[in-house]
């Protein structure tokens, strides 16, 4: 049901990761996640150059329904944040894999792909949740 690009990696916490050519990684939340949250009304972003631990708090997304933490799926340094979300958090609803990206991180080490899901694996994971 959810739209799901094939060139991304996914987490069990409904985040997506995209490796950029410069070695950084762009992170957002999935279409499934934005659908469950409902209309986004506020996004709290990390500071630039902030160091994040794997599993540490990275951002907070708040919808009409609830506030939810977004955890860093990899360790690294914040190299960019999506400032557009400050005034237009609904970008996450309308374009979760594009204009609704949240943070870009420069990883501090190798990315453990074994801890992440392929598009097919994530699709299956979501289908099981929907059952």
């Amino acid at each position: 049901m959810s739209e799901m690009p094939g060139d991304l990696l996914y987490t069990a916490e409904h985040e997506w990761l995209r490796r950029e050519e410069d070695g950084s990684v762009t992170i957002g939340i999935t279409d499934h996640a934005q659908g469950a949250l409902g209309d986004l009304v506020y996004v709290e972003l990390p500071e630039l150059e902030q160091d994040l631990k794997n599993g540490g708090e990275m951002a907070v997304v708040e919808s009409v329904k609830a506030a939810s933490d977004v955890y860093a799926p990899i360790a690294g340094t914040v190299v960019a944040v999506n400032e557009v979300l400050a005034d237009d958090p609904e970008k996450i609803n309308t374009d979760p894999y594009g204009d609704g990206w949240i943070v870009r991180i420069q990883p501090s080490g190798r990315i453990d792909e074994g801890a992440l899901m392929s598009p097919d694996a994530y699709q299956q994971f979501v289908d099981e949740l929907d059952e």
Binding site: A12, E13, G38, D39, Y42, V64, A66, E131
Partner: protein, 392 residues
């Protein structure tokens, strides 16, 4: 840090878990209609109810600008009858049904316990000198019915729960005009002539000019079997289906209390902004909770119940701590994002005192709020001064 807020759930496990169990509860006669309209169904007090049909914000705006319809069939309708029913309700309720003398007239009231805590808030309709209708909350159904039956025994009152009835709320500036097209022609003129807080029977329908959104509109009780056809007709007339999500943001903007959040069994109406619903006169009327309520009133140390506007970025949520420098601490009882204002607003119970600014603990930050008069929004208009700056 103390995260404290019940609404501040960690997204993935909690929300998804709640939705996986969606079909465990009771369903209203309109359940299939909700699925047809693309609803996201959630559990609400044991009921499978629509949270939204795609966008809660769009539904909210539809009610402020045009017309929306809510399925509120989960609410409990109780018909009371008996020769002493009026006398009974004058004892049971903090507002005074003696104010009701015309057929169909409605009154908003609290039902208190002996300690002046609120058992529930409800609407009572006058049908005749020996018949009244109560509409009480869904989540409080069991304790309300037990209390009413228990207290009513001595008055010989017959308590008839109308589980056969469904209920829809059609709300918005165009709600009555659009809904009138969906009722039998012979009732249209009289239904459109209803004044606020008045109701009437129109064939199978009981139509009342009441609501929980701060907009004009009707609440309609009707046989459950007839509800899907009315729903279809309303949607065909251009009324937008709206879920419980929009219902909550609309009532918050209208500063209408939500039972269980803004008041409960241990909070009196005096500390929940509901003093206006207490009928102190006549002095000799003895109602349940009166003595405790008077003692609280005379003690003079009651907490304030106020509206808050968030001046910083962020979202206020239920149970967040409020700090009032020099006065103490309080708590947000209902908080959220106001789609009409575009900022976060809240209702809060705060320490007694004369002040107009406070701070709210949101995660690891202190955010500035200003105390504003309520309602925040009424009849499509923002009623507060949004732009006044915080004095540094």
């Amino acid at each position: 840090m103390d995260r404290g807020a019940a609404d501040q759930v960690r997204l993935p496990p909690f929300i998804f878990a709640a939705e996986r169990h969606e079909l465990m509860g009771s369903s209203t006669p309109l359940f299939d209609k909700h699925i047809e309209a693309g609803a996201r169904i959630v559990d609400f007090g044991g009921w499978n109810m629509p949270l939204h049909y795609g966008s809660q914000k769009q539904e909210h705006h539809a009610v402020r600008q045009n017309a929306g319809v809510f399925d509120v069939s989960h609410m409990t309708i109780v018909d009371l009858s008996g020769g002493r029913v009026r006398e009974f309700l004058r004892y049971l309720l903090a507002n005074d049904v003696a104010k009701l003398t015309e057929y169909g007239k409605a009154l908003y009231t609290c039902m208190l316990n002996a300690e002046a805590g609120v058992i529930d808030d409800l609407l009572v309709y006058y049908i005749s000198a020996t018949q009244f209708r109560l509409i009480v909350n869904a989540a409080t159904r069991d304790k309300d019915l037990a209390w009413i039956r228990d207290q009513g025994q001595a008055f010989g009152v017959t308590v008839d729960e109308r589980a056969d009835l469904a209920m829809v709320a059609v709300q918005g500036p165009n709600a009555r005009d659009l809904a009138a097209r969906c009722i039998a022609a012979q009732h249209r003129d009289s239904a459109l002539a209803l004044r606020p807080f008045h109701g009437m029977q129109a064939g199978d329908l009981f139509i009342a000019r009441t609501g929980y959104t701060g907009e004009d509109g009707w609440e309609i009780c009707l046989p459950g079997v007839a509800a899907p056809a009315l729903w279809d007709n309303l949607l065909a007339a251009g009324v937008v289906p709206c879920g419980l999500g929009a219902r909550d943001t609309l009532r918050l903007e209208a500063a209408m209390n939500l039972y269980g959040s803004d008041m409960d069994d241990v909070i009196s109406p005096l500390e929940a902004g509901l003093e206006w619903t207490i009928a102190w006169e006549p002095d000799e009327r003895d109602f349940i909770g009166r003595a405790a309520l008077q003692a609280l009133r005379d003690s003079g140390s009651r907490r304030r119940f106020v509206g808050l506007l968030l001046e910083d970025r962020g979202v206020l949520r239920n149970h967040q701590k409020v700090i009032v420098d020099g006065f103490g601490e309080g708590e947000i009882t209902s908080g959220g994002y106001s789609p009409t204002i575009g900022k976060s607003i809240a209702l809060a119970r705060l320490p007694a005192g004369d002040y107009d600014h406070a701070q709210v603990v949101v995660r690891d930050k202190l955010l500035n709020v200003r105390i504003v008069s309520t309602p925040f929004v009424r009849n499509g208009q923002i009623r507060i001064d949004v732009e006044e700056k915080h004095d540094e």
